[in-house]
């Protein structure tokens, strides 16, 4: 039998209308998209591009590459030495930052912080470390300790603290409560719960985040020299200032090589540890 009524039976289901958005929602969405487009156009108009310079750019780049070729091997000893210095800055700084960030992570995680004041203290340290760029930290430490490797190491340590502490703190906040409950039930103290319940659970994150930060620090320490805080950046700056473009090319290639090797090592370690 064919359905005889309009509003019930299986046929009624087949004729129901459905739309993902109501027409009001649809207009709101169009409106929002229009606003975004306007914002893009307006912000482009404020850049003040000097068009002749932009059209000129390919020619200038060709010219620069021409002067860089072939890369000069003169002074390779200096480059190799500062390259080593760069790796040292990154590694030593990561090492210290990892240890210093542990207590900060513990007090800035809601479930392990002793009280509200330590929570605020932890978060204050994290925010102040993260909101200042490595180069700015380096400028500060160069002003305090004079130019050199020490200023570079301190700059990287101070910037890394916020990164490591924040990610570790979040890992601590996301641990599984169940084993903690079991350890409370056997009468373990806070310290022992930390050792047996919290640390084993955040170990994988701890290693992953430390390796990632080492990788980032390697790249950041190549530019520290621009403000006099040690590493390969110092001779890069010197070469640019004296228009020694062929040396600049060698240094840039060396930095690229360093970053690729660093990437490979951290990928290998990540696979090994986790």
């Amino acid at each position: 039998m064919v359905a005889t009524t309009q509003n019930s039976g299986p046929d009624a289901i087949a004729h129901r209308e459905w739309a993902r958005y109501t027409s009001k929602q649809r207009w709101q969405r169009f409106g929002a998209m229009g606003l975004v487009a306007l914002a893009v156009v307006w912000s482009l108009s404020t850049i003040n591009v000097i068009w002749p310079w932009l059209w000129d750019a390919p020619q200038q780049m060709g010219d620069l590459f021409g002067r860089m070729f072939p890369p000069s091997l003169e002074g390779w000893k200096d480059i190799a030495w500062t390259l080593l210095e760069t790796i040292n800055i990154a590694t030593i700084a990561t090492f210290f930052a990892v240890f210093l960030s542990l207590p900060i992570a513990l007090i800035s995680a809601q479930n392990t912080t002793p009280n509200r004041y330590t929570l605020w203290l932890g978060r204050f340290i994290l925010v102040s470390s993260r909101s200042v760029n490595t180069i700015i930290w380096a400028l500060l430490f160069v002003a305090v300790f004079g130019p050199g490797v020490l200023a570079g190491i301190l700059a990287i340590v101070f910037r890394s603290l916020g990164f490591l502490g924040k990610l570790l703190g979040e890992a601590i906040e996301e641990i599984d409560r169940a084993p903690i409950e079991a350890l409370e039930a056997v009468g373990a103290s806070r310290f022992k719960i930390l050792i047996y319940g919290v640390i084993p659970q955040v170990m994988p994150t701890f290693f992953a985040v430390s390796i990632l930060r080492w990788d980032i620090n390697l790249r950041e320490s190549t530019v520290l020299g621009l403000v006099g805080a040690g590493g390969i950046g110092i001779i890069l700056q010197g070469a640019i200032d004296t228009f020694a473009w062929q040396t600049v090319a060698t240094i840039l290639l060396a930095i690229i090589g360093l970053v690729i090797i660093g990437e490979a090592i951290s990928a290998y370690l990540r696979k090994k540890v986790i």
Binding site: V186, G187, P200
Partner: protein
């Protein structure tokens, strides 16, 4: 001897989960607590070792009043109360031996806990118990590599490492398959008589409760409405215990009738 008097637990301003509950468990008896979800079984067990704070009333274990304890004295009391969990609550990334030894954390100096230098007598005791439940060959495996039944055995051994005066088991078999679940119940019964330990088991499976325990306590809406031997648990008593199905489940039943009506149209 566990003696609970006029125990009340209320979460926030809501209706009490436990209402003036009285229960006595003399030494060496295996008691199962049955009741629908939300009857307050879990809350009752967790009030005993204070994972949940009781609102009022008294809980006395072998002469010690548990409800007033704080800080260090609470930890000292807790190390004598073993607990087995539905979800096993092991530390997945640690080895079976470390998990088992974590039952001794209340007794162990911090340096031994950190360096994993456990006293020889604890290691002997651990191997003895692990041998007893059949997991000794897993001592160096990570807990995450074990099956459900094996993990629960680790949980039981961890609790027994505490040398407990009482063992609390919160749905110890609910995450296990029927066969493994019977093995764990059998194990709990055997261990209780070997170690002369009173055991309180929250359990959903009434048949297992009847088979493996000497005393059944039926709870409904935070009160004990049945307390007797398995043979006394008649169908009427069962109906009464499980009649008061909590609101959420009733809601589910209503919506399923609604679906049937729609389908009938």
């Amino acid at each position: 001897m566990l003696r609970i008097k006029e125990l009340v637990k209320r979460y926030g301003d809501e209706k009490a989960v436990l209402k003036n509950l009285n229960l006595e468990v003399p030494g060496e008896s295996v008691v199962s607590i049955i009741g629908a979800s939300g009857a307050g079984k879990s809350t009752l067990l967790r009030c005993i070792n204070r994972l949940v704070e009781p609102s009022s009333g008294s809980i006395e274990l072998n002469g010690t009043e548990l409800t007033k304890l704080e800080g260090k004295s609470l930890r000292l009391a807790r190390r004598r109360i073993g607990m087995v969990f539905q979800g096993f609550n092991l530390i997945e990334r640690l080895t079976v031996m470390e998990n088992v030894q974590s039952g001794r954390l209340g007794y162990l100096p911090a340096w031994r806990a950190v360096s994993r230098k456990y006293p020889q007598e604890d290691i002997d005791r651990a191997f003895h118990l692990m041998e007893r439940v059949g997991i000794a060959h897993y001592a160096n495996k990570r807990a995450s590599e074990l099956s459900g039944g094996e993990r629960q055995r680790v949980g039981v051994v961890r609790a027994l490492m505490q040398e407990p005066e009482i063992l609390l088991a919160d749905e110890p078999t609910a995450s296990l398959d029927p066969k493994t679940s019977r093995q764990i119940m059998e194990l709990l019964r055997a261990l209780a008589s070997e170690l002369q330990l009173p055991v309180l088991i929250n359990i959903h499976n009434v048949n297992e409760a009847k088979e493996y325990t000497q005393r059944i306590v039926g709870m409904r809406f935070g009160r004990i409405i049945f307390d007797g031997e398995p043979v006394d648990l008649s169908n009427d008593a069962m109906d009464e215990i499980y009649a008061g199905v909590p609101a959420e489940e009733r809601g589910g039943a209503e919506s399923s009738t609604h679906l049937r009506e729609v389908a009938a149209k």
